[in-house]
């Protein structure tokens, strides 16, 4: 019953938050309207999100986000160094294939996004069966280390949260 | 304030969406509603004409905002006349379309048709310069749709040209509007009239530029040389009835020139003077020549009629160029005449094309079904457009010739009108002979099966109505001209128009 009205509860929450952010202040009236939107819009768009992934560990998710933000800042400094100071000749770009244990599309996407936002890596493609990510490294003298790092630092955490 | 003033816009504007919304898959229903709406438009426009005849200009404040701050509609004799003309034409064209089944050859004909009417009526009724642009766009985009109705490679390519050329015109319109606003700070036509007349001397050059840009914009619509290039292919390749409806679109340009250059940029305005008349005159002469020579030079029938349309615009503009009440009265008569005549010829051309299967005049073809009847109609249409008696074209031509005499040197204009008439006669005679007579040179063959013998009466009724209009214009020339003279006097006297707006007085 509840699922019928809240096909994606987290999304509803996100929308309510979005509305409150947009009106830039809290008022009960706004909240009521936000809830209307938070219920209504997911219902309208539910057809576009047929499956209903459960994200069981909001706390872990928050921790993950913080970790990624931290990594982003670090990544930026690292990339800045490379961009500013590394001569072209010593740059060692590389392609690596990261085999996936994740299966949920949401989880895989989150991982791919994380890879792109973090140090020196961009996820460039997925294998046709969805079981490996193609990653391009800006400067990776040791590609295997990159794979290991991704799997350990991000994929394992995501697996805990989603699967 | 009578709400009826806006009815010619709102009626099609509501009917169009309704057709799209509720009956887009039922052609019969579309026809019924479209025709009923157009007939209602006709009735309304008759009433508006009556109202406009008995009173001075009436202003309708849209949104109830006082002029010049909101948009206004203004009903005067001129706008009422042109709305009525549009409605009459629309009824005939619609009957033809329904009779021939043109509307079934593509989608959304009736909705586009209603929107076309909305745009045209809106353009005639508005009292706001920018709003005129908006309704130009409404009528243009609807016309694009109608022009390419039923598709086909050549038609689509011509459509691209038509759009491109008119987009250029629309862009120029915006440049002109921005310039005029930039100088005067207003968009209301009455307010502009007051302010342009009172401009400081140092603004004269810029307002002249604005005026000349407007002139060119409307020249594009009115197919004034050298802005006529879009017309021949567009009209020739558009579906026949659509081209017939387009006969009134060139008049939108003529209307706008008349309105703008009597109300706002009149000959008495210090900044502009007779500058525009001096441009219009030679351009009109050239238009006349290009159009009428085109009649003789055209290889196809529809193209011939398209050039006839240009030629008639040349006559019209030649009469308009002096911007004097007397010539204007004659021009208004001729305007109504040439619209009906051009439209009738386009419909007849379409009848011929439908039956002959080719537009090319010289292409040998056996006699078409109903050869005699259609030949007679063509003969009448040709007479009308060439300005031969007994139809109103002759009267119109006489009126213009006579009126021109009182406006200064007229020998050139007279010679042009008369000599080009001869060229037109030669061209039309050649075309008629090739189409309807030469077919009998070889013994008649059975009509090929791929050309269905259309025998419905409705298309003939439509053409008949238009020709009957010409006859009525001839027979009733006296009273009609009396009315036109009063209308022309009103057009050339901006004061009542301005006063009707109750503009706020400048606080000095």
């Amino acid at each position: 019953m509840l699922r019928r009205f809240f096909p994606h509860p987290w999304l509803s929450l996100l929308l309510i938050l979005t509305w409150l952010l947009l009106v830039n202040g809290f008022a009960w009236g706004s909240l009521v309207f936000a809830v209307i939107l938070g219920v209504g819009i997911p219902l309208l768009t539910a057809a576009y999100w047929p499956d209903r992934p459960a994200m069981r560990h909001p706390v872990k998710f928050t921790a993950y986000i913080l970790l990624v933000i931290y990594d982003i800042v670090v990544a930026n400094i690292a990339v800045a160094k490379i961009v500013l100071f590394m001569p072209r000749a010593s740059l060692r770009p590389a392609w690596v294939s990261v085999p996936l244990d994740l299966r949920k599309p949401e989880a895989i996407s989150l991982l791919a996004g994380t890879i792109t936002m973090t140090p020196g890596t961009v996820s460039a493609d997925l294998s046709a069966d969805g079981r490996a990510i193609l990653v391009h490294c800006l400067h990776a003298p040791d590609p295997d280390a990159v794979v290991a790092d991704i799997k350990a630092r991000y994929e394992s955490r995501l697996k805990e949260m989603f699967e | 304030m009578s709400h009826w003033i806006i009815a010619p816009v709102v009626l099609p504007a509501v009917l169009g969406p309704l057709i799209v919304l509720l009956m887009r898959n039922d052609l019969t229903l579309q026809r019924v509603f479209s025709l009923a709406g157009t007939l209602a438009l006709l009735a309304i426009s008759v009433a508006l004409l009556a109202a406009a005849s008995s009173a001075g200009p009436e202003v309708y404040l849209l949104g109830n905002w006082p002029a010049p701050f909101g948009i206004v509609l203004v009903l005067d004799r001129l706008s009422a006349l042109l709305v009525l003309l549009t409605a009459m034409l629309a009824v005939a064209v619609l009957l033809y379309v329904i009779g021939t089944g043109w509307d079934a050859r593509g989608r959304h004909f009736h909705a586009l048709f209603q929107f076309q009417l909305m745009g045209i009526c809106g353009a005639f009724l508005t009292g706001d310069a920018f709003n005129l642009f908006v309704f130009f766009e409404v009528l243009l985009i609807a016309s694009y749709g109608l022009m390419i109705h039923a598709g086909g490679g050549a038609r689509l390519r011509a459509g691209v040209q038509y759009i491109a050329y008119n987009l250029a015109g629309s862009t120029l319109f915006l440049f002109a509007l921005a310039t005029v606003y930039s100088v005067t700070g207003t968009l209301n036509m009455a307010d502009l009239s007051v302010k342009i007349a009172a401009l400081p001397e140092g603004d004269a050059a810029l307002i002249r530029v604005a005026g000349v840009l407007f002139l060119i914009v409307f020249a594009v619509k009115g197919a004034l040389v050298p802005m006529q290039f879009w017309l021949p292919n567009t009209y020739a390749l558009a579906p026949g009835p659509v081209a017939a409806l387009f006969a009134v679109m060139t008049k939108v340009g003529a209307y706008a020139i008349l309105r703008f250059f009597t109300l706002m940029f009149g000959p008495d305005v210090p900044a502009t003077g007779t500058f525009y008349a001096e441009i219009l005159y030679p351009a009109a002469l050239l238009t006349l020549v290009v159009g009428m020579v085109g009649i003789l030079g055209a290889k196809g029938l529809a193209r011939l009629v398209a050039f006839a349309a240009i030629g008639s615009m040349g006559t019209l503009f030649l009469g308009m160029a002096p911007f004097s009440p007397q010539t204007t009265a004659a021009v208004l008569y001729y305007l109504v005449h040439s619209t009906l005549a051009t439209a009738a010829l386009f419909l007849i051309a379409d009848m011929v094309l439908e039956r002959r299967g080719t537009d090319t005049l010289a292409a040998p073809r056996p006699p078409i079904p109903q050869n005699g009847l259609i030949a007679a109609l063509f003969f009448a249409g040709a007479i009308a457009i060439a300005g031969l008696p007994p139809l109103s074209g002759f009267v119109g031509k006489l009126l213009i010739l006579d009126a021109l005499r009182n406006t200064g040197p007229y020998v050139l204009a007279w010679s042009a009108i008369l000599i080009t008439s001869l060229i037109a006669v030669a061209g039309l005679a050649r075309a008629g002979s090739l189409l309807f007579w030469k077919a009998y040179e070889s013994p008649p063959e059975p009509v090929p099966h791929d050309i269905p013998p259309p025998a419905r009466a409705l298309p003939f009724v439509a053409v008949g109505l238009l020709l009957a209009g010409l006859v009525a214009m001839t027979v009733l020339a006296g009273p009609i001209m009396g009315w036109m003279e009063e209308t022309a006097a009103q057009v050339h006297d901006p004061r009542p128009w301005i006063d009707a707006h109750a503009l706020p007085q400048e606080e000095e």
């Binding site: 990339v79 800045a80 961009v83 961009v122 996820s123 460039a124 046709a128 069966d129 | -």
Partner: protein, 122 residues
């Protein structure tokens, strides 16, 4: 309090400007499209993110009150940047990267962008 806010805003602005510039500079300096892809997706995101946070702080403490829109913009940019990068990368692989340069997927399937199955018409 205001001073702290000012300092924070200024630092954020300087940092953001720096990263933003580096990101764009990377676009200029790095040798090929794939490497260039790294610079803007990260550095510019941080650059603009910094500006947005600076703006939030500024309006919260020095301007007319806390403004949350910047948060929304940041969120949006972070959500979309990887997708943009992925698509540009795919386009680049499709157009300019020889398939031989790519590592094997290790799963038996081809990389999606190279995969032929979508062409099959049934």
């Amino acid at each position: 309090m205001e001073l702290i806010a000012e300092v924070v805003v200024s630092l954020l602005l300087v940092g953001a400007g720096f990263f933003g510039l580096v990101g764009s500079f990377g676009l200029l300096k790095l040798p090929d499209t794939m490497t260039r892809l790294h610079a803007p997706t990260k550095a510019t995101t941080l650059g603009v993110g910094g500006v947005l946070i600076a703006s939030m702080v500024y309006f919260a403490f020095l301007g007319g009150g806390l403004s949350w829109h910047e948060f929304l913009i940041t969120l949006f940019l972070f959500l979309t940047a990887p997708v943009s990068a992925l698509f540009i990368a795919k386009a680049q692989i499709h157009r300019a990267v020889p398939p031989a340069d790519l590592p094997p997927t290790g799963t038996g399937a081809e990389w999606a962008v190279l995969d032929g199955k979508a062409e099959a018409r049934d």
